[in-house]
Amino acid sequence: MSTLRVYVEGIGLWSPQMADFAALQTLLSGSTPEPPAARPTAATLPPNERRRAPESVLLAVEVAGQAVTMSGRDPAALACVFASSHGDQPVTDYMCATLAQAPMEMSPTRFHNSVHNAAVGYWTIATGCHQPSTAIAAMRASFGAGLLEAVTQVIADRRPVLLVGSDTRSSGPLAEVTHCEQPFGCALVLAPEASASTLAVLELELTPGLPLTPPDPPLAVAYLSNASAPALPLLAMLVRGSGRCQLDAAPMLGLQVDVTQVDAENIDAKQFT
């Protein structure tokens, strides 16, 4: 099995402490970034959709929009892999509570917003994207499993892919078992070849599952407070520009990721071949 190599062209990030990837750069340089507004802007959605969309959709669309803007790619041309451990927890809480009390009063809109692929559905409608799109889950390995799936699509079909990993805050009694104390979302635009837009190179290898340790402060608390936050060590590596990190892809399967800088000479050479 050879190493899987993909090229990062865009990075999105949102949490209550960080409005975007630049805020993570600020945080890791020792300063405190300006926190974002309480709700993600999700500027890609038309205003009427933005008002109606549930939290999970706003969060995923916000980070997806950031990453795609950074990449300069047309969003309609990107295949989509949206990973989330729990989907929209406020909607799940609403559904379970309504079903327990008055099932005939179920809201049809909340029901169609409860599907795990609601976020990628809204995203593809807003961007006119007809490419393959998927919504996946794998508990706290959701981001790692999503990254593996996105990378296989990039390499197998030589196509650029938008990866989103996001989970809302827990809501209602479900919080006792889902443990997402705050929302977190991130996104990557991944391409099969180096280009002028390349920010970093990722080389991935499957490994046996290894016990993961939370990153050092200032990321330690955020890492444990959301099921999609295991992406943080990779994002921190992207801030530094190089390094190695370990993610979970499944309970017994790890994903080793090496981040390096693109070799500028290779890009130039490619343009002439």
Binding site: S114, G121, A135, V177, L253
Partner: protein, 401 residues
Amino acid sequence: MRNLMTPLAVTAYTATSALGQGLTAQLDGLRNFRSGLRPNDFSSVPLSCWIGRVTGVESTSLPHGLASWDCRNNRLAWLGLNQDGFLDQVRAARERYGSSRVAVLLGTSTSSIGASEETYRRLDPDGGFPDDMLRPLLHAPHSLVAFVTAALALEGPGLTVSTACSSSAKVFANAERMIRLGLIDAAVVGGVDTLCDSVLFGFNALELISPAACRPFDATRDGISIGEAAGFALLERADTAPQAPQLLGYGESTDAHHMSTPHPEGLGAELALNDALERAGLQPSQVDYINLHGTASLKNDEVEAALVSRAFAGGTRASSTKGFTGHTLGAAGIVEAVIALLAIKHGLVPGNLGGDTPDPRCSDSFAWRNEQQQIDVALSNSFGFGGNNACLAFARAGFSA
């Protein structure tokens, strides 16, 4: 951009639905043109509709050591895994390739949400979870895959695909990519969805449920009947099993139109179909049978009938089998993939049960009654909420496009 796909062998497959447990029961129901639907006797409060309920789920118990996974969806998964020698086939693959070289890639729409619903019906007086429901793995979409992975003692990639009603069709694509890139040698694909209040009252709120047994492609159809099912297939490289039927290709696309109604011209469905034909290297005239999505909703069937008319001549036979099983949502992809494989194996075109007064939009491709003919190539369509489309192409062993 795409190359012709190298076919994969489907070395084992099984399905359990309202027609019964395992392949023999599915085939028997299809051959006898017998619906598995019955009046709703499931929901927590009465709802006047018909359902495709699997008999025997309640009396299924999980093996010792896996009891913490107990819920209706995982019971149905276990019941399904125990049919047609599937467990033995997976065990053989695990021994041949190693446990980390076999993936578990399953689709589900609602997974074990029924357990979360039950929890909310009997919360503690302080509003907290009762102790017996404090099982975090049960209250997440990944519950099914985590349970099946544990039950099969596998350690490879594991993925829940949850794109509503295309979920368990799309997992065939995930498996093909991973095998092609050498990440794995085999994959257990499929899906499980069980009846639960969420889907019964949710589709009821959308006014998509028929008060009677569903009638796909009938001119007077008035909605879907929800069913439950478990289905699994084992995919390996074709050279390991030259006698096995093959996955020839798959297509995936997105409508970019609406969350709960299909694109009016079937744009996404046609993109998925063309993607599947292209990867499989097939011309439409080479397709002998298409198992349609055919939910019996007004809109889906209208759009899909038009697509069949546009893309296929009458020599290609087409039908929906939702009248037999109900719409099994996230499990529909695998159940209907299995029916396509049964069609190839037994030369059976299942008739479109429930279509007694055919919608005039339906072309002469539609098989309204069972037909017997050789089937070399069969497709299966699966379309989901969010405009998420998939199409699978299967062929008999030795078929060459």
